[in-house]
């Protein structure tokens, strides 16, 4: 069986030598089981050592190798070349993020937003170690498990035109993770998180394009998390209007 040949058009941006990103084409032969990340590593090792990109685990759990593949946000470790062959493949850095170099984007903004929603279990008062673990039933685990699968790969931000147009939008993954901790029976941090996600930059900016959910490699469904938070927040608001004497 003869090896197949494919052309990859890869974004290059070297700030010390150019003002705007350009595109470089690489032609390569590939075995059937290669993914886009394999091809990038082949280019870096054997063709052009200057190509820069992020990657780590090669198995869809580290969340580092997200890029635009033919205009769609993908984990490049899970995008098989054979699925694109014989067409060319365009590989670009995740869209809506600033580019630092070649395929590497600046994720500082995302990290700030992630931190803002306190993505850890918050307790009003920690119980003494001697009293043991915080127990949880399988049903309580099932309530939030789906939303805990997020690997912070940022594909959902790249699929979100709202984030593109309003960079202050807290965004799909951060809100889904806020939802994950809010649903956790051991957590008591809901009020502080609500300050962030019920703000103008939070859930209200979302127009339910729904692509965050479509591109998520872990089936987290941020669109669902955001809509449910909107319903819950609006219901609470209506209750506080109709029964202002009730619990704040």
């Amino acid at each position: 069986m003869s090896a197949k040949k494919i052309t990859m058009r890869v974004t290059r941006y070297r700030p010390e030598q150019e003002d705007a990103p350009t595109e470089q084409a690489y032609e390569l032969e590939f075995p059937d089981d290669w993914v886009v990340l394999d091809a990038l590593n082949y280019i870096k090792d054997d063709v052009d050592g200057t190509l820069t990109f992020r990657w780590s685990c090669r198995m869809g759990i580290c969340g580092s190798c997200g890029m635009m593949v033919n205009g769609e946000p993908k984990l490049t470790c899970a995008a098989f070349l054979r699925d694109y062959y014989p067409a060319e493949i365009r590989v670009e850095p995740l869209q809506y993020f600033p580019i630092i170099r070649d395929l590497v984007i600046d994720m500082t903004d995302f990290l700030h937003k992630l931190k803002a929603i306190t993505p850890w279990i918050v307790r009003d008062e920690e119980k003494p170690l001697a009293e043991g673990e915080y127990l949880q039933t399988p049903a309580q685990l099932a309530d939030y498990k789906q939303f805990s699968m997020c690997i912070n790969c940022m594909l959902c931000y790249s699929a979100c035109p709202v984030y593109g147009h309003e960079p202050e939008f807290i965004g799909p993954a951060a809100i889904a993770l806020a939802h994950r901790y809010n649903l956790d029976s051991r957590d008591e941090g809901q009020e502080a998180r609500q300050q962030v996600i019920a703000s103008s930059e939070g859930i209200w900016d979302c127009t339910l394009v729904g692509e965050c959910t479509e591109v998520c490699p872990k089936r987290v469904d941020p669109a669902m998390a955001i809509q449910r938070t909107k319903v819950a927040t609006t219901t609470e608001w209506a209750k506080s209007m109709l029964m202002p004497w009730g619990k704040q």
Partner: protein, 135 residues
């Protein structure tokens, strides 16, 4: 002691977003059409409201307006508005299961079941309205 976060400065490139971003991909185009459906629905309802106001003006005025609505231009509008309205209904019921959690005892009702029930409800509601408003 809380350590201050270090600040790094480095040049970055911000890609411009073309105004046609929603035309370049079917998914984003369909999203925009879904949002646009609300406009056609609103315009239809304003026409409908005007028709209702003519009920106060007597049979002749109302009948004449009904005639006008049967002209080619209005018929074209109604065809377009109907397609948009049905698209709105379809998308609305499709995402219903995502938005609303329905519990039966300990069980969460699956998204698909919620959508199916909503679609059935839509058909029933349409039939009831048709029955009440036409003779």
């Amino acid at each position: 002691m809380k350590q201050p976060e270090p600040e790094y400065t480095y040049p970055t490139y911000h890609r411009p977003i073309p105004a046609t971003w929603w035309l370049r991909d079917r998914k984003y185009f369909l999203f925009m059409m879904r949002e646009l459906s609300s406009f056609f629905i609103a315009v239809f309802l304003l026409i409908y409201l005007y028709g209702l106001s003519l009920l106060s003006k007597g049979q002749a005025a109302y009948g004449q307006f009904q005639e006008t609505l049967r002209s080619g231009g209005f018929t074209l509008f109604f065809v377009v508005a109907f397609i948009f309205a049905v698209y709105h209904s379809w998308t609305w019921w499709s995402i219903m299961g995502k938005v609303q959690v329905v519990r039966l005892g300990d069980h969460k009702v699956p998204e698909r079941v919620i959508t199916a029930v909503a679609l059935a409800g839509w058909v029933v509601a349409s039939a009831v309205v048709l029955f009440v408003f036409t003779r």
